[in-house]
Every structure is written in structure tokens, then in C-alpha cells.
Point group: D2
Chain length 325, copies 4
């Protein structure tokens, strides 16, 4: 590749900002041009992300270069739309937004957004100028449901998911205090998690008459990274048929791997992969899915979308060594 | 109490044996008379349970005193029945079996067993000579379902539960290797966990026509102690009505506490308590239950049963300081 | 015991306040009379300490009963002295202060304080009206050094210690954020920890000419409860002689147990015990000590002191079930 | 690079074997030619390393290709020498041995080994045919001591280090049982760790008259990956002078980063970096070092040595995304 893609990051001091920096610094086809953070402007990146000391001397900036090719918005929910209204980039600059501001069809100025789930919308992503990057739980749940939705036979879903503390961001909170969270499990947003909206939208894209409930109980886990979801669904298909449906659906998608077996979460931590494990008992199929909430659930997914938008190899810069242990 | 109850423990070197020792050593009305362990005979208890050094000089024995009042069997599944066949205690000795050997109505010799869930069978337990102590997941799930079953209106259940590594015992296994289990989540025995049998039996005791499925997905958690279960059930009752049903059911039961709110698992770790948290959204009630798998899920439950059998205060020796943090 | 000791707690919403509540609620000889907390006044104790729900309906108060027998001050460092100045209890009310305000001989009004380390000052504690309860690291380190100091031959000390997150209190901080602290180790206050002052004072009490350095490197651990310290000291004594020195020193002290072997921290978590493990190689003895930082390191130690002050069994209310696993 | 280096791995089913596979699969200049494992021959790599499913279809083999350029020996201590005796590769095949078999000058056949610590022996490594890869604790401790040794003024060292469970390998052991190790700290091999031999050898290489003791207390930590060491040393140098000594020593070494401050371990987990944090108080300098025990402590270090031996960029294939959180 002759010329590198010039990329900027807005909101670079948070967790997804940090992960996006880490990925882009090592991406073979990208030049990280600016990392915007109003509160950290002038400080080296490693002042906020200590692990980067020795890797880069780049500093945070509070000015925005408009000559970049792509901007990653790593802002809080509600802040991305406001930011783009106040800082209208030229139309030639592509936007990848990691917040939930544009996942349900919202627009800003002339910008319309493609929902950036490559396993669902890869062709559209390749043509897109703006991407609404999926939510973390939304990714893990959808990748467990979409193949069945494509058969037109997805019924009511009962899903329980557990997430690492990084899903709650870096703000200090009672529920991310080490003393409280260590060795603890708790439920939150029972049946009301905001990601259900984007999940239902994607399901309806494949199965327009889907009208059943998706009952989702999210749990807080006592680990920092990862999401694990088990979804229970009634189906008339045999396990072999279910496996074929999933394998066909994910054929050619490099990051989503289907198992005819259980899976464990740590296999994907620090990678952009999604594991899908399938089991069946009686008339119930159980789909286990596992992702790293900050990578396939956020920043890795965003870089995957960038790769597609710019015609790069889909896996460029994303062949990451898993933590493994 | 003038005379102390003389208690023996069989299988005292394992986790539930250790917990039973810890409880009985501090129990105001019990004299721990023998701790049987063939493989450890002659060694001090603290050779297997290092935390007991300084607390007791008692040693394991391979002989069985028949003059005790009660024997706790802390053996592996399948071993209790065999043990009682080979070592028939006098009829006057009461048996509390922590295995699953007698939970479904099985007998040995003249001994018949009462299922030792005080919240369900307290009066029968008070009269019982032999107790089949409930399973850990079985306890957590039943305490979440029984009040609804008593209304006669329990329907299909979708439950996900997570358990600490102590639930898998002290045998070295791939799934209890620290390197694998730390920061990991995995599913096992999906929809086929053996505790479903005793759960269905208890539900049928209250709601004889119950014919719906109890879909249970167990997960391995990355902590040592505790169980957390979220069960999703359709109901026509309002949240207020559900809360009343649960509060009425557990009225007078000292260890089971009903919340009209979420609960977190660590509140009960190292105690004999069960927390029941209730939420409702649409037509679904979600019941969260939390116990310590080794106490209310095993040894604490067993001592609670002993207290009832011998007419002691139900909470004697079981007012335990929680780990809290 | 005919009449129960009436006890009050000031600063009952924090970690050491919570632990003191948990201990006193179950103490056979104590009536918990008030729990003072300005910010929580009127709320039930379980609003701050969720695990107490179901155990007590007591509420926090902002008024101070002067008719109690003993008050535990569970306040931040610097606040105890101020509190006693503003709220002078009658001389008949004994004070046990868990802060560091009175550990170096400080006084307030007529009150002078005995340093509440029973293994060092048991007779004085029995006569004391006011106790300065030792610090957590100070307890773990001193119990590893004092027997050698008593021989008059303690030399330079190199100690490294690790503490759980509860040692940092319940205030939200970057270093107690779960995401940062999980699976992490870090050093802080290298060679300058404030507990060195009280340690040196106790050493000098036994070995007045001690002039060597105590080099202490504290680490933050990725667990909630517990302290583990390894101290390396040159000595001319053989291992057998060292062991005898320690065993003699702790003879008759119920909570401190000497091993001629290594020890592991979790054996003492949720107990009031201190383990002392001794090893020797060449001319160096290595003393490993382990305590629960909130119990033998704070609230349990305070209750032990209360027991001594009021002529109770030293272990009353402190025979706690360890977490064990 | 026109032709890729052909690399083989012997002992590919263990932890260091797995990490070496992960690194070489993504290395731009290497073709992973064979992965030898007698017990797993014929099975896919992902049968032993589940995270590799979807990444490679390579299988384990029990035959050894002699046409490779380099072989990594990931065998247990004592097995490497035996393996090379029984399987003499042609002299043209370079060997990188991760065991301790050749770290003290041992030879096998005509093969002599260079101690593979690039910060000490980079020029010799570039010329070497055979590398003895350093131990994990040895790496962390040496990188904290060598700059002072080079000044000729290193004195007695008091070091405490903590290691993750992966340091103990994948064999099931009591001390790697999750139930025991979670939330626990313990000491082992106090003052007698086998890595002291190679540490003293390297120190003597820079300071031939070094005769003082290196007192090292290793601890087992409750995490899977990482090593953190704090070393206390008397020195006449000021902190500024010490920092200059360390910065000069590591000038041009890409993986070792010197801080004039504390460091925390998790910054380096899943990377090949070593952090060196320096503090001073009185006449004592405290050197904190942190590495990932499986990377800079084993497989990453081995690949770094391979890069040097074959004239590649020293960091090729080793710019790894840290776990960060």
C-alpha cells in the first residue's frame, strides 16, 4: 500500500479511545494523525495510557486536523452527535462512531450511518461514508441470533450475558470499585438494556415479521475484559441443521468462528474474534457467544469497519495475540 | 443446653467436610466427636484444612463411633449409599447426607430421608431421622421458584446460574486450574444439570400439575465461593403481588431475605443466607437468588437441618460474619 | 455474664465501622447501643452494609449516647482527635480508636492511650481506659519482628508487604478502580509508609538500643482482604532457636500461631488470626506474616482489646469462620 | 525480506510452546514449519490451544524437519539436553532453548550457548548459533540490577518478586488449583530460587568482584500472567545519578523502559516490554521491574533473540497490544 490512511481519534483518553490508539499504532496501513482530548491536550498519550510509554511520543491535541481520511469518535453516548454538529468535518472525511448515537437510523447534517456489523452489512459498509459501530452486548447477542433470524424462524429469546468492568468505562463508580466488584456477580438493567433496540433492528432486517420478545438479563462480572452470553431459543431444527445454518451464515467472515460445542470466554480476550458455540437439548438450542467487549465489542470492530471502508484486508492490524491464559 | 449433641463427620477432608468442621467447632450446642477420613487417619485436621491450625488439635480417624447423635456424610455422589450399607449405624444415630444419593426418595436399609430444604419441609425435618441435604444450585433455584409454585401458577422457567470453583470440589481438574479459570466464564451441562431432578420434585410438591420446562444454563465463574441465579418466568401477577407471595412464603424463615430490588452475590458469601431479589418488566418476573454454595448450598444448610432435628434454635452456630468485601 | 457491655460506634458507615458492627452484633457479651454516622443518620445499617439486611433493623444515628461503656472510633486519620475534642465523653466511657491519631503517645484532654497490641501490651491493655488500635501493616510487621527484638538482637529489616484493596478504604480512587487493580500489582509509599513510626516505637519498647533501618516496600494486591509480609533479617540464631524465640513469645496468645514452615494468606482471611511462618537460609531468617487487614489489622483487633479491657475471654466473639477457600 | 525464516517448535503443547506459536504465526518474517509434540501428534494446534481455532489449521507432528532454520525448544527443565542428544539437528539449524539446561555454560555435542539476554549480550546473540533463553524471574531481577553492576558498585540485594500462575506451567498442582490460589498470596523457594545462579553469573559478567548476597523471596500471585519485583539496594549514588545509569544502560534497547517513578505490572502484560521504575529514600535505591513472565520472561524473549540472530528488526513480530485493562 503506497499511501497510509490518515486517521484521527476524538475522545482518546477513555477506554475505547485507548484501544483504538493501540490498534492504529500497530496497523500497517494507517498513520495515526491526531488524538483529540480536550482535558489532556498537550500531554503525551502515555499520560493517560501508561502502557504506551516507550511505544510512542505522540501527544493529545485539542485541535482537529480536517485533512485526515477517517475519524473515530470514542465519545460518551449523546456526545457524538453534539460533537459532529459543533465540528462539521468535510464530507470527504469518513466517520466511525463508537457511541450509540447513530445506531437506529439517526443522522447529523448530511451524514447517514450504516450499522457497522460486517457479518450483517459488509457490502454496505464497504460503500459507507459513516459507520455507527455496534454496542458490545449488541454484538455478542446479534451474532448469536442473526443466522436463525435469516431462516425466518427465530422465536422468543432468553439471553443472559456477563460483562467485564471495562464495559462501564473509566469513571469511578460504586459498581466498579475493586472492593465491591471482586468476587461478586450482580444483575443490572434487567430486561431493559438499551442495546435491545439495535438488536431488534438487525433481527428485523433479516426476519421482518419478528415480533417475539428478546428477554435479556445483563450481569456484571468480576473480570475486566470480555462478554459471554448464553441465549436459549426454541427451534424445530436439529442441532446439525442449526450448525449448518450458522456455518453458512459466517462463511467467509474471518473473525466469527462456529463451534459445535461449548466455548469459554478467555479464548477471545484481547482479540477481535467472536466465538459461537451451539448446543441443543429437546426443542431448545442454546447459543453461547463470547467476545472481547473492547475489541469486537468496540474498537476492534471499528478498525474492522475502517478496513472494509478503505478496501483493505478485513483483518489488517487485527491479528492480535490473545491473552490465552 | 445441658448436654451437647455429639456429632461425627464422614469424609472430613473435602470442601464440604471442612466447612462442616468449621461450623461444628464453633457451634455452641455441639461436641465434634469424630472426623472420619480413611486417607488422612491419624493426621491433625489442620493437615487438610490449614486454616484450622491453632484452633483445634483434633485428628482424623478411620474408626466410627456409634455413640454419636448425628453423622454428617460429606462424601462424593454415589458414595453415601455405599457407605451406609457397609457401615450401618444404629437406628438412633441420625444421618444428614450432603450427597445427592437420597434426594429423590431413595432409601438404604430402614432409613428413609426427608429432603432437607427448611423453607419447604421444616416440620418434616423437625421429625426426621435422616436428611437428604439439597444440592447447591438446587437450593438457589428452588428458593427462587417455590413461592410461585405454591400459587399454582409457575410456568416455564429460564434460569442462568453461575457458581464458584469450590462447587467442583478439591480434585485437580482442567476446569479448576487457576490459569484457565481466572478471568474466564464458561457454560457446562447446558439444560442437563443433575439438580433439575430435585428441583422438579420440590416444585411438584407444591404445584402437582407443573408440567413446564425448567431450562437451566449453568456457568463456571472466576471466583471461589458463591452462586448467583437469575430466573425469568411469565406471570400475570404484578410486581407488588409477586413480592407479597415471596414475603409470605419466607415469613419466619430466618435465612432467606426478600428484596424488591437487585441483589449482589458477595453479600451472602461466607454466610448461610439466601437473598431473593425480585424485578418485573412486561409480563416477566425475574428472580435473582444468591447463596454461598458451600454454606446455604451445603454445610450450612446441613447444620440448619441438624438444628431443626434436635430442637435447637434454627440459627444456632450459623450467625456467620459475611466476607462483605 | 449478667449485664452486657453497651458499645457505640462512631464512623459506622466505612469499612472498619462495618466490620466492627458485624463483630459486635454477634458478640455474646455486647449490646450494640448506637452506630453514629452523620451522613447516614436515620437510615438502616443495611443501607450502607447491604449484607446486614435480614440481620438487624438498627439505624444510624447522629446523636451520641453518653451512657455506653465503650466507644469505637472508626474515623479517618486526623478525625478522631478532632471528634473527641468536640465530643468529650465522660471519663467512664472507654475509647478504642482505630485511627493513627494516638499511636505515638498523643493525648486528648485527660485521655492517654495504650497502644493496643495485646501480644506486646496485654497487661497494660487490661488496665487501659483508652486504646490506640494498631495499623494493619504495623500489626503484620510487628508480629514478625517483636520476638527477635525481645532477644535484643534485631538488626536491619527488609520487608515487603502486600495489602488488599479494603486497606485503601471505600472512597473511589484510581488505584481502587476494578479495571486498573484486577490482575495488577504496584508499589506505593516505598520505604516511607506511615506505619513505620509505630513499628519502631514498639521495637524500641523491647530493644531500646535498636538503631537499624526497617526498610519496608508496600504493594497493592489484586484482592480485597488480607495482608502478607515477608521480612528478611540477619541473625546468628539457628532456625530452631528462632522458632523457640517466637513460640515462647506467643505462648498464651490465642490468635498468633507460629509455623516452622511457609504460610499462605487466605488461611486467615475473615479471621482475627495472625500466622507467623519462619524459614532460614544462610544467616538470614525470613519471617512471613499474614493477617486479615480489616480484622486482626483493625476491627477484630479492636474487639480483642475491648475483651481485655472488660475482663472477658480474649477470644469472645472472635472465633470466626475463615473464608478458607 | 524475500525468504521467510523456517522455524520449528519442540514441546508445542505447553504454555511457552503456545505463546511461541502465537508469536510466530503472526511474525512477518517467519514461516512456522512444524510444531512437535509427541502426545498431541496428528491433532490440530487448537486442540491444545483453543484460542487458535479459526486462526490456523496446522497440526502437531511427531517428526522433526531438519531443513528448518531455527528450532525453539519449549521443554521442561532437564529435557532439552536429553532431546538434543537424542535428536542432533544439523549444525546449520540454530537452537533457542527456553529451559534452564544451558544457562550456566553447559554444552551438548558441539553446541555452546550464548545467554540470551539482549540487554546484556546483544552483540554475542547476533553471532550465536545457540541461545540459552533466560528464566522469567531471572529476567525481571537482572534487568533491575545490571546497570548498577556495570558501575561496579552493586552491593547486597534484597528482592521480593511475585509471579502469575502461568509460571508454574500447565500441570495440575495444589498450588495452581483455582480454589486455593484465588485471592491468596504465598511464598516459595525462599532465598533458594534456582534463577539466582544465572542472575549471579550475569552480575559477575559486569562486576567480576561481586561477592554480596542476592536475597530473593518469590511469592505466588493470584493472577495468571506477569511478574513484579522490588529490589532494595544500598547505593551512594543520588536518584538522578541512578536514573542516568539506568537510562544509559538501556539506551537503544527497545523493550526496556526506565521510569523515574513507580510502575504497575499490568502495563506490560501481553507485551515483550520490561518496565524499570526507580525510587530512592535515604541510602537505599528501590528498583521495581515488571514483565510478562511468558513473553519477556520466555517466548517473547526467545523471538527477540531469533530476530537478532537472523538480522531482523529486533522488534519484528513483537509489537504486541498490551492487555492494558
Amino acid at each position: 500500500m503506497a499511501t497510509k490512511i490518515k486517521a484521527g481519534i476524538v475522545g482518546g483518553a477513555g477506554y475505547t479511545g485507548g484501544e483504538t490508539i493501540r490498534l492504529l499504532l500497530n496497523h500497517p496501513d494507517v498513520a495515526l494523525t491526531f488524538v483529540h482530548s480536550r482535558s489532556n491536550a498537550g500531554n503525551p498519550l502515555y499520560s493517560a495510557h501508561a502502557d504506551l510509554r516507550g511505544d510512542t511520543e505522540l501527544t493529545f491535541t485539542d485541535s482537529l486536523a480536517h485533512t485526515v481520511d477517517v475519524v473515530f469518535l470514542c465519545l460518551g453516548h449523546g456526545e457524538s452527535k453534539k460533537f459532529l454538529q459543533e465540528n462539521p468535518f468535510p464530507a470527504s472525511v469518513r466517520i466511525i462512531d463508537l457511541s450509540q448515537d447513530f445506531r437506529l437510523g439517526e443522522t447529523v447534517g448530511d451524514r447517514t450511518f450504516v450499522y457497522g456489523l460486517p457479518e450483517l452489512n459488509r457490502d454496505a459498509i464497504r460503500q459507507a461514508s459513516n459507520i455507527a459501530n455496534p454496542g458490545c452486548f449488541a454484538t455478542a447477542i446479534q451474532l448469536g441470533l442473526l443466522p436463525l433470524a435469516k431462516t425466518g424462524a427465530l422465536g422468543e429469546v432468553y439471553a443472559t450475558g456477563i460483562t467485564g468492568s471495562t464495559g462501564a468505562g473509566q469513571k469511578l463508580q460504586d459498581t466498579t470499585h475493586f472492593t465491591w466488584r471482586a468476587n461478586n456477580i450482580s444483575a443490572y438493567k434487567t430486561l431493559t438494556h438499551q442495546h435491545l433496540r439495535e438488536i431488534k433492528r438487525s433481527v428485523a432486517q433479516l426476519q421482518p415479521d419478528f415480533a417475539a420478545a428478546i428477554n435479556f438479563v445483563p450481569w456484571r462480572g468480576d473480570f475486566a475484559r470480555g462478554i459471554f452470553v448464553s441465549s436459549v431459543i426454541s427451534t424445530a431444527l436439529s442441532l446439525e441443521e442449526v450448525i449448518k445454518v450458522y456455518r453458512d451464515f459466517y462463511q467467509g467472515h474471518p473473525f466469527t468462528v462456529v463451534y459445535d460445542d461449548v466455548v469459554d470466554m478467555k479464548q477471545v480476550v484481547n482479540t477481535n474474534k467472536c466465538l459461537v458455540g451451539l448446543e441443543k437439548e429437546g426443542d431448545k438450542v442454546v447459543v453461547h457467544t463470547a467476545i472481547d467487549n473492547l475489541l469486537k465489542g468496540a474498537s476492534g470492530h471499528a478498525v474492522q469497519n475502517m478496513n472494509l471502508m478503505f478496501g483493505l484486508e478485513e483483518t489488517a492490524g487485527l491479528k492480535l495475540k490473545s491473552i490465552a491464559f
